[in-house]
Symmetry: C2
Subunit: 516 residues, 2 copies
């Protein structure tokens, strides 16, 4: 995780976590009643709805861009991880205190102490010694050895087959390649994606749900012949779109990211080819469609010395968080033919393929990979507004499309048949949207609660409803109210939610004084 801006006040983070836990977005570390295991969390009702909405936006974005979802196992035998390189290489460097025996990740320790330097792995031990760095817990000296701690969670299948909980979804997505090739009628390119659990046994997970031991990863994989990359049809449709690009040169010169069309960026050499340019564009779309504000997104090119050894082209998406500053959230990598070559070798299966113009070539893979927990956290961080608290009110300003609950249905009173009338409305609207039905507390208290939940619209059923069938509809952000007929609600709410109707046109305005 890259953090290039100074961290926002720890106070904001504290506020935010308190909001997230007390309002029922995320709880943990779980299982809380057993003391909690760090790096594991429960998504509470509001958080789960929010995460589902993020994942639905991701599904829709991939799907409309021609990528098809698959679901592969999370428990995978050892030989696969030997082939992918995870078994040998997927580990963290640890250093242990000679006295209190606490373990620390050396890379993170040094990153925090020297935020402006990039210390290479072979200099970790020397730096610890030279700078006289001591154990942060008990201030004693560290052991003069760096241990490699595997991030893989091992298990066993059947009576004695070794397997691992997958440390990433991607590898499992590559394995059915021969099946894909048949399914897509023996033609490249094609795209598939997967959203599912992955496991990293970090020694000391931190940063709440940004760095979990069990997390949900989403990734898209474009399978393509090498020579097809330079002329990729979908590129034509998106080449005029602008992206906030922070290429290696701008970073070196300490300049800001620059908005450029995909086409310009390709001409400038920021991307090597059309297919890769398209996947960077798609990564950006996945984030904006998931509700992350455009102004808090930048695309950062990897410097040459940062790239994975197999990566031909590599950009990250970074999102600006109030709690942690600019934070890496997504990688788009041209992985070339590395993966299919490896799995071909290790499985003994010929994974090359042919069509009219290609003879027995191993397909290249361009990958987009990110975590849906991180996007969910980014939304909570970006749209929670602690300034509201001072005004006696907390509003979660989540965009309507991502809001966990779309409509709160509120009978003014429980008596006189208002509750029954309200329930009918709730039931009708629930056919299309996630709604809440809240009868407890004063109407003002219930409006506040709905604002905290991020619910864009409240519907109040009062005595006038019994007379003329109208209800009040209240907007979360402006607090404006209109009256409309209950039989029109389904249509009105639908167009309000899809953004094609302005709130003030949703009914007859209610005067402020008439609000109560």
């Amino acid at each position: 995780m890259t953090q290039t801006a100074p961290p926002a006040p720890a106070e904001f983070m504290q506020d935010l976590i308190a909001f997230i836990q007390s309002k029922g977005f995320i709880w943990g570390p779980s299982p809380e009643i057993y003391g909690g295991l760090s790096g594991f969390y429960d998504y509470a009702p509001l958080g789960k709805l929010l995460k589902n909405n993020v994942e639905q936006a991701i599904r829709d974005t991939f799907q409309v861009n021609g990528f098809w979802e698959v679901e592969c196992p999370t428990v995978v035998p050892t030989k696969v991880w030997e082939a992918s390189g995870h078994l040998g290489g997927f580990s963290d460097p640890l250093i242990v205190c000679t006295k209190c025996k606490a373990s620390f990740r050396v890379d993170k320790l040094l990153e925090e102490l020297f935020p402006d330097k990039r210390i290479p792995a072979d200099k970790f031990l020397a730096t610890i010694e030279k700078e006289g760095i001591m154990c942060p817990t008990c201030h004693s000296a560290f052991e003069k050895e760096i241990k490699q701690h595997s991030l893989m969670m091992k298990t066993k299948v059947g009576l004695d087959i070794e397997a691992y909980n997958r440390p990433e979804t991607a590898t499992t997505t590559y394995l059915p390649f021969p099946r894909y090739f048949d399914y897509f009628r023996k033609k490249l390119p094609f795209g598939v994606f997967q959203i599912g659990k992955a496991y990293r046994n970090e020694v000391s997970p931190r940063q709440f749900t940004l760095r979990m031991r069990e997390f949900t990863q989403a990734e898209g994989q474009l399978f393509i012949f090498k020579d097809q990359k330079t002329s990729y049809a979908p590129y034509e449709r998106i080449k005029k779109d602008k992206l906030p690009l922070w290429n290696a040169k701008l970073q070196r010169e300490e300049k800001k990211p620059k908005k450029k069309s995909v086409e310009e960026a390709l001409a400038d050499g920021d991307f090597k080819n059309q297919a890769y340019a398209f996947t960077v564009w798609l990564s950006y779309k996945l984030f904006t469609n998931s509700g992350v504000p455009e102004e808090n997104i930048r695309l950062r090119q990897h410097a040459d010395d940062e790239k994975a050894f197999y990566a031909d082209d590599a950009w990250d998406i970074e999102v600006k968080l109030n709690s942690f500053g600019w934070t890496e959230m997504c990688g788009a990598h041209d992985r070339t033919d590395y993966d299919l070559t490896q799995h071909g070798k290790h499985s003994g299966r010929d994974l090359s393929c042919s069509d009219e113009t290609h003879k027995k070539e191993v397909a290249h893979v361009i990958e987009i990979a990110f975590g849906t927990d991180r996007i969910t956290f980014a939304l909570l961080d970006n749209f929670y507004n602690p300034q509201d608290i001072k005004e006696g009110k907390t509003t979660f300003h989540i965009p309507t499309k991502l809001a966990p609950i779309k409509v709160a249905v509120l009978p003014l009173m429980k008596k006189d048949g208002l509750q029954e009338l309200s329930y009918e409305i709730y039931k009708e609207l629930s056919k299309e949207h996630v709604c809440s039905f809240d009868t407890s507390g004063s109407i003002g208290r219930r409006y506040l609660r709905a604002a905290e939940d991020g619910t864009p619209y409240c519907i109040t059923i009062d005595y006038q409803t019994k007379e003329d069938g109208t209800v009040t509809l209240r907007d979360r952000d402006t607090e404006a109210q209109v009256r409309t007929h209950k039989d029109k609600l389904a249509d009105t709410v639908r167009v309000l939610l899809d953004g094609t109707l302005e709130f003030t046109k949703a009914g007859t305005p209610v005067q402020k004084e008439a609000k109560k």
Copy 2:
């Protein structure tokens, strides 16, 4: 799994699996290129869309009935499984061949040999000896010992914390109980549900995706004070609905299940109370809303000697499969205060709760538990029609709502701008529905393909479209075609899919001879 009807021809099963694998619903056992690990499967593009639709129907059904979704970790520390009883008790009885050393599940072996008897666990060894049962592989004698094989997949977290991949979702749903109680404003009853992965290390998984080592479980949990069970408000709304009930008495008398209203069943003593009656009703709704045909569902009461020791009331849902006959798919259990009492004891946390009328009581739990892979399989089994094959055509008659792809957009020709025109229509419809865009092969070939995928509607863009803007719309099941204007498509398709428009009224009928 209970199988009370004779299994359908193995031929059907072979046909079905071939269809499922070749059309891109489910592949495996995976990873196939590494030889496959039994009990693990890949959901291919069509299967994943189908499974997503099943899970969305489950979400919607729970949500509209007032249950809220949560997501809890799949990796959980050992002490939780000690408390739940899984660590000691969750195992299969195995018997090993003295010669070839193959292991078999004794219970399954005896069930197959004696389908009409129920042999209790303490008679397994005696029966093997008395009946002279030999190893099915090499026909040698078995060892005179039954071993308990744990179904739990063990792993490690951090440096040395023992944990397990969860064998069920339910236990993890119980653990945040104190958080729920706050979230639901310190009032019972409330309901939560979870859909997520669970892991059972079966020794020899069989029956395709009906019995996997890694599977997706869905379960709902109603938390309720004991005395609230007899007067549960939502019951009033559903008590007139009819359910196909096969109570213990009808089973003993070898009679068929009987359709009864929930109310009648409660009066007859089939259910002990309103809250439990409601959850059985909800289980049934979850299955019908997921597309399982009503006529293939029956609710079977557990005989007293079948119930889990903590279960006060227990019914199963059984679904009739062409491949395996009547198959257990879901359990609804009144688990009383067993779970929260256990976790209270083991965690040292007081999990009792109080409100105006209850003082420090441990809440009861009524549970619904089933697998989404099984429902997905049931849909494939029930709606795949091998008779069509003889007519030169395979149609997957999946109900519209569950169909993986809703609309196939087909340009008659790739040339003359028809492809571009079609792509615009595809893009527009894709905003609302999962669509496919198919340009390869004759139009007849593409219609056949769409029918195999279960796609309810095909839209063909032809030369007339260029002239007057109309397209043909084709119905999967009747093969009827109508012409309608492309600008009306979004609205037309929406009402066709939600079932409010009859196909014949969707446009001007096209005569059979004009079909090509």
